[in-house]
């Protein structure tokens, strides 16, 4: 059975072995750089100012982002509307052109009808005169 001293020696030995624990190189490099770049004279007023600047900068970025989204959406809507209007106008022009062409066709047909009718009438009248002599 271990005596008191031996037990304590084992405990101390265990504690000493923990000396091998170490921070990672990645952590110490980053931490060191951040600390040495920071303002040594930072007091509460500077920290407050820095906080406000960060907040303002963030709001500015947010405002620009919102504006960009609005402009993008607005642009998309404008393009869609413009395209629709152009298409509608072209459609109307086409319809108008078709209508005009149709009118012309009707007129042409009417003219032919009248001509034929005229011819027929002329033949009939001639026949009547010739028969009447």
């Amino acid at each position: 059975m271990e005596n008191r001293d031996q037990q304590e020696e084992k405990i101390i030995s265990s504690l000493r072995s923990l000396h091998a624990l170490a921070p990672s190189r990645r952590f110490t490099d980053l931490s060191r750089r951040l600390i040495l770049l920071s303002d040594q004279n930072e007091n509460y007023l500077n920290r407050f100012r820095r906080g406000i600047s960060a907040l303002v900068a963030m709001r500015q970025r947010l405002a620009i982002a919102v504006l960009a989204v609005v402009l993008a959406l607005g642009g998309m809507l404008y393009v869609r509307e413009y395209t629709r209007l152009v298409a509608e106008q072209k459609n109307q022009e086409r319809l108008l052109s078709e209508a005009r062409s149709l009118d012309f066709q009707i007129e042409l047909q009417e003219a032919r009808y009248f001509e034929e009718s005229l011819n027929a009438a002329s033949v009939a009248i001639k026949g009547v005169f010739e028969n009447g002599k």
């Binding site: 008191r4 037990q7 304590e8 084992k10 405990i11 101390i12 265990s14 504690l15 000493r16 072995s17 923990l18 000396h19 091998a20 624990l21 170490a22 921070p23 952590f27 110490t28 931490s31 060191r32 951040l34 600390i35 040495l36 770049l37 920071s38 040594q40 004279n41 930072e42």
Partner: protein, 177 residues
């Protein structure tokens, strides 16, 4: 202590980042170990260690050279940071939440399974000790500080430090029996 430590401190107080960087390089491993053994999780230990040295860099002009090593002052900051950390966290760290990396690190230290188990038991038993008792054991046996250096760190006399050490080892021995 770092060679030419007083000179480095004065230069850092004058604003020399390079001088503080040398102090940082020398003391980070021991402060990190101290914090890690108190909070157990690696990421928390890294965050706290960073905060400790950031605070030291910003407050170094207020530091007065009184014959104690610079580490004593760093340990004071570390103890206060850990107290604040626990005040915010209000958690008990159980063995189950021990960081996996810490276990791996210990595994690389000890290949003997018996010793590894005992190491784990010692760490677990240390949680039952008071803050001062834990601090004295870590500074004395993990970091190898003298009683005088520890007294500067925890703001107690050398005699009080020896007494705390004796009580802490006694308590640990009973817990592990």
């Amino acid at each position: 202590m770092v060679e030419g430590e007083e000179n480095l401190i004065r230069q850092a107080q004058a604003g020399s980042a390079e001088s503080f960087g040398i102090l940082y390089d020398h003391y980070t491993p021991q402060i990190y170990r101290f914090v890690l053994l108190k909070v157990t999780a690696r990421e928390e230990a890294e965050d706290l260690t960073h905060e400790i040295f950031l605070r030291a860099w910003r407050k170094i002009k207020a530091y007065q050279i009184r014959g104690f090593p610079f580490s004593s002052w760093l340990y004071q900051i570390a103890r206060n940071q850990i107290i604040d950390h626990y005040r915010l966290k209000k958690n008990q760290i159980s063995l189950e939440t021990v960081d996996a990396d810490l276990i791996k690190a210990e595994d690389s230290i000890e290949r003997d399974v018996d010793r590894l188990l005992r190491l784990d038991q010692v760490r677990e038993a240390m949680k039952e000790l008071s803050g001062d008792e834990q601090d004295v054991l870590i500074m004395r046996f993990v970091e190898g500080l003298s009683h005088r250096e520890i007294s500067g760190a925890i703001n107690k006399s050398e005699g009080a430090v020896r007494l705390i050490q004796h009580r802490a080892l006694n308590a640990l021995r009973k817990l592990l029996a």
